[in-house]
């Protein structure tokens, strides 16, 4: 993958970079108040989670395996409904969202999952174009953006390839391209470097950093402390279903 420089950007994407001083005055994109979640009648896997993600922020979510990182992310991208507590997404109470409103908010969130969730019978190009296609855009309108983004993430030569033929790193970049193609306000990634070698992991981190500089709010779940150390970003820690601020000791 070609290294990105800080001055590079993709055509049509946000170019304004929020400054740290400005960020504090910006509204929260995500706001949790004493949120809890239990599956069925089991114990609470998330307990009294209170957190916020200001617009334009870059946040790591860390914690040991099984602590509830993926579950917390699912709550953030509206894949789960909390058992109790309040979740505000883009200023709206998620419990009061109608189905179309929920879908509209989902279209403002890009998600990169640990196992990529690429559709195997669709080409790399089709996978990346998916969010634009489901939002009803005509192919002619988004074709150039998809091609340019794929070239930007180093998959220009693999556009017609199918996911089973891709390497782990290529799948990762394809999933990331799909997550960002619709220019989301919020990007959520679950262990994005978990399946790739350290060199590709650093490149991906640089990609997220670049996107954040262009205004996208980033939330990354990882238990890779080296990754966290490479970037001076906010860290949330989850232990036994409870959320704390700051790096683990």
């Amino acid at each position: 993958m070609r290294a990105l420089t800080s001055s590079e950007s993709v055509k049509g994407f946000k170019t304004t970079v929020p400054q740290q001083a400005q960020m504090s005055s910006l509204p929260d994109l995500v706001n949790f108040e004493r949120v809890a979640l239990r599956y069925g009648r089991g114990p609470e896997v998330i307990t009294d989670a209170t957190l916020d993600l200001p617009q334009g922020s870059f946040t790591f979510l860390t914690g040991p395996s099984g602590a509830g990182k993926s579950t917390l992310l699912k709550l953030c991208y509206l894949s789960l409904i909390p058992s109790r507590g309040l979740i505000r997404m883009f200023g709206r109470d998620s419990a009061l969202l109608s189905n179309p409103e929920r879908q509209a908010i989902k279209r403002r969130i890009g998600v990169v999952l640990q196992d990529f969730h690429l559709i195997e019978h669709l080409s790399v190009y089709e996978n990346v174009a998916l969010p634009l296609r489901v939002s009803g855009q005509a192919r002619a309108a988004y074709n150039d953006d998809v091609v340019e983004l794929l070239q930007w993430v180093g998959l220009g030569h693999r556009m017609q390839a199918f996911p089973p033929t891709l390497s782990g790193g290529e799948k990762q970049r394809c999933a990331i391209a799909r997550a960002v193609i619709a220019k989301p306000d919020l990007l959520i990634a679950d262990e994005p470097t978990g399946n790739v070698d350290p060199a590709i992991g650093r490149r991906l981190l640089r990609l997220f950093s670049e996107m954040n500089r262009m205004g996208t709010t980033i939330l990354i779940a990882t238990h890779d402390t080296h990754l966290i150390d490479e970037l001076d970003a906010r860290v949330l820690r989850i232990e036994d279903g409870r959320v704390y601020t700051g790096k683990p000791q």
Partner: protein, 297 residues
């Protein structure tokens, strides 16, 4: 590649075109379309046969000329024939010879001989359009003849009732087959959604609406139903044609290629209905299933 050159390649279908283990579903749909086609053709054939028979019966009258004296047979039957010819000039009037009239009584007498002076009724068959039994009766009464006219109403009514029942059976079978097709498609859509839950999960994640996802299954079911209908109904038409033209099946209501063309139009209509039923079943099932899954979260 096309995309790189700025030219958009054709959009791929979001659901896989070839679903594994779907061969059994194809076979079921084709058999259902075949049965539906046969039921429709059976109903149409029954209607057509009933119509033909009724037309034939309504064009026929049988007049019995009652005699007091056996010697008056020829005189009275001739008078009756002339009277009938006057009022029905276009009709074909056939007087059954006395010997044949007597022969009709033979089965009731066994080996016994008919008495020589037994007054056997004269039988006159009329064939032609617009044979009104009341007009005939009035004219024959006026001529001083004692007659009994059978216009086949009883047989026509029985035939009509039988034909109605046959048509009802055919249409009832057709409705049951279409309901079975509906159920099969509901089941197939549920199974398809389970098999493709990963794709649905991705679509939901990227913000696809329930309507968008349901439309994918509607399109898939419509194609499936249309292809199943084309194959099944073509087989039904060929089967019907073979049965009608080969062997002694009484025509099965097949009255040649002119009527066959109308049947083919009916089959095309049935195929369209079949495909739409498949699509509607898939759409409603997909929408309900997505809503159910959302509530289950």
């Amino acid at each position: 590649m096309n995309a790189a050159a700025g030219q958009a390649p054709k959009e791929a279908t979001l659901l896989p075109g070839k679903i594994r283990n779907a061969r059994a579903l194809w076979v079921v749909l084709i058999i259902m379309a075949l049965l539906a086609g046969c039921a429709l053709l059976f109903a149409r054939g029954s209607m057509r046969l009933s119509g033909d028979w009724q037309t034939q019966l309504s064009d026929t009258l049988t007049v019995q000329v009652m005699l007091d004296d056996a010697a008056a047979w020829e005189r009275d039957t001739n008078l009756a024939r002339e009277t009938l010819r006057d009022i029905f000039p276009a009709a074909d009037i056939d007087v059954l010879p006395e010997a044949e009239s007597k022969a009709l009584l033979q089965p009731w007498l066994g080996n016994a001989e008919l008495p020589k002076n037994l007054p056997v009724p004269g039988l006159i068959n009329l064939t032609g359009p617009d044979l009104n039994p009341r007009t005939a009766q009035a004219a024959l009464d006026e001529a001083g003849l004692t007659t009994n006219i059978d216009d086949n109403t009883r047989y026509a009514d029985q035939l009509s009732g039988t034909a109605r029942r046959l048509v009802s059976i055919g249409l009832g079978t057709l409705i049951l087959i279409l309901l079975a097709g509906l159920s099969v498609n509901i089941f197939a859509t549920r199974a398809g959604m389970t098999a493709q839950k990963e794709i649905i999960r991705v679509l939901v994640q990227v913000g696809a609406s329930d309507r968008f996802i349901a439309k994918l299954f509607v399109g898939q079911a419509f194609r499936r139903g249309a292809i199943g209908a084309i194959v099944g109904l073509t087989l039904a038409a060929l089967l019907w044609l073979c049965l009608s033209l080969l062997g002694d099946w009484g025509g099965l209501g097949w009255t040649g290629f002119g009527a066959g063309a109308v049947d083919i139009l009916w089959l095309i209509g049935l195929g369209t209905v079949f495909a739409f039923i498949c699509a509607a079943a898939a759409g409603v099932t997909a929408a309900r299933q997505l809503a159910f899954e959302r509530k289950r979260l």
